[in-house]
């Protein structure tokens, strides 16, 4: 926890983070099966606060980062649940319309 805290905005202390996690659980209706799981999710939550802080200071546009409903997911879990783990797509046929259907079918 002390390592994570070092990378967080300096004004955030542990009690504040606990409060933020409790608010997060309430806001997004999160429940965990055990105390161990809650503890693990809290660590992931702190890690995501750190990531948000890093993204915020390096943002080139006007985007704001912070707590979202995905804040208790690791990057890997988020990618697995919401991202498509497909290989890079092969270039598809550029255009398809009724007159070309026969040709397209032959090509594919």
């Amino acid at each position: 926890a002390s390592e994570v805290q070092a990378a967080l905005p300096p004004n955030l202390i542990m009690t504040q983070m606990v409060q933020m996690f409790q608010d997060f659980m309430r806001q997004f209706n999160k429940t965990y099966e055990s105390q161990e799981e809650t503890h693990r999710r809290f660590k992931v939550f702190m890690r995501n606060l750190e990531v948000s802080h890093v993204l915020q200071v390096s943002e080139l546009g006007t985007a704001q980062y912070g707590i979202t409903r995905f804040s208790d997911l690791t990057e890997h879990e988020f990618a697995k649940m919401y991202g498509m783990s497909l290989p890079s797509p092969a270039p598809p046929v550029k255009q398809l319309s009724y007159p070309n259907l026969g040709n397209i079918a032959n090509k594919s």
């Binding site: 546009g61 704001q64 979202t68 991202g83």
Partner: protein, 232 residues
């Protein structure tokens, strides 16, 4: 090309949906949202179409592992239409294609993969309607609001793992000169409580997060009686 366009203002874009945590069906939601918007704009017919039909019938029981919009559009094209979401509701899991539920209410004329040129894509969005786009979703986990602009190493344009619908574009000019820039308005499928009421904005013109790599859209014929709606 107009400086701005937002199809939501014309009422052409259907409501934001939530794909849920158990089915990686963003590609199917984008396919359906694209067709719904084009039917609104060119045929003047609002529709709520079946995402589940696209998931079930474009691939054989693997649609919840992910997919490509062009495969979804090809399935709609081959079947000469898509059923309504009431007849063929979303269940968010893999299942066989339910032929008895397929009612072909919205045929498409074809589809098009757009060139990797954001000016061209903006022209298509303004003149034809919303288009789908593959992009890298990594930074969206912690996104809350605003216009995203990341260096390519943070959001690799060659790792495309999510699909959304570009429903418009605009430009922001800060009075204080702190930030100016063009942006895309993109509909996501994580519910209306995520991001900016289910949408996010992404910098336009620099292929941010690979947004220009695979922009794909259905083509829908104009109604013979009415002109298409203009983008507000």
């Amino acid at each position: 090309i107009s400086q701005s366009c937002d199809w939501r203002k014309a009422g052409a874009v259907s409501a934001v949906k939530d794909q849920g945590p158990d089915c990686r069906s963003c590609w199917a939601f984008a396919t359906v949202s694209n067709i719904e918007a084009l039917w609104n704009i060119h045929q003047h017919v609002p529709r709520n179409l079946s995402v589940q039909e696209v998931i079930d019938c474009a691939y054989k029981k693997t649609g919840c592992q992910g997919g490509f919009v062009w495969d979804g559009l090809l399935a709609v094209f081959k079947n000469r239409g898509l059923s309504s979401s009431v007849l063929y509701p979303y269940v968010g899991r893999n299942q066989p294609c339910q032929e008895h539920r397929r009612k072909k209410v919205t045929p498409i004329y074809g589809y098009e993969v757009l060139p990797r040129d954001e000016k061209y894509i903006a022209g298509i969005v303004a003149s034809q309607g919303p288009v789908t786009a593959l992009f890298n979703m990594k930074v969206l986990q912690n996104y809350k609001k605003g216009i995203l602009r990341r260096p390519s190493q943070d959001c690799r344009p060659d790792h495309l793992d999510h699909v959304g619908v570009i429903v418009g574009f605009n430009e922001v000019k800060s009075r204080r000169g702190s930030w100016t820039g063009p942006y895309w308005i993109i509909q996501n499928s994580w519910g209306e409580h995520w991001g900016e009421q289910g949408y996010f904005r992404l910098h336009r013109g620099t292929n941010t997060c690979g947004i220009a790599m695979y922009a794909v859209t259905a083509t829908v014929k104009d109604s013979e009686r009415k002109k298409p709606v203009l983008c507000p």
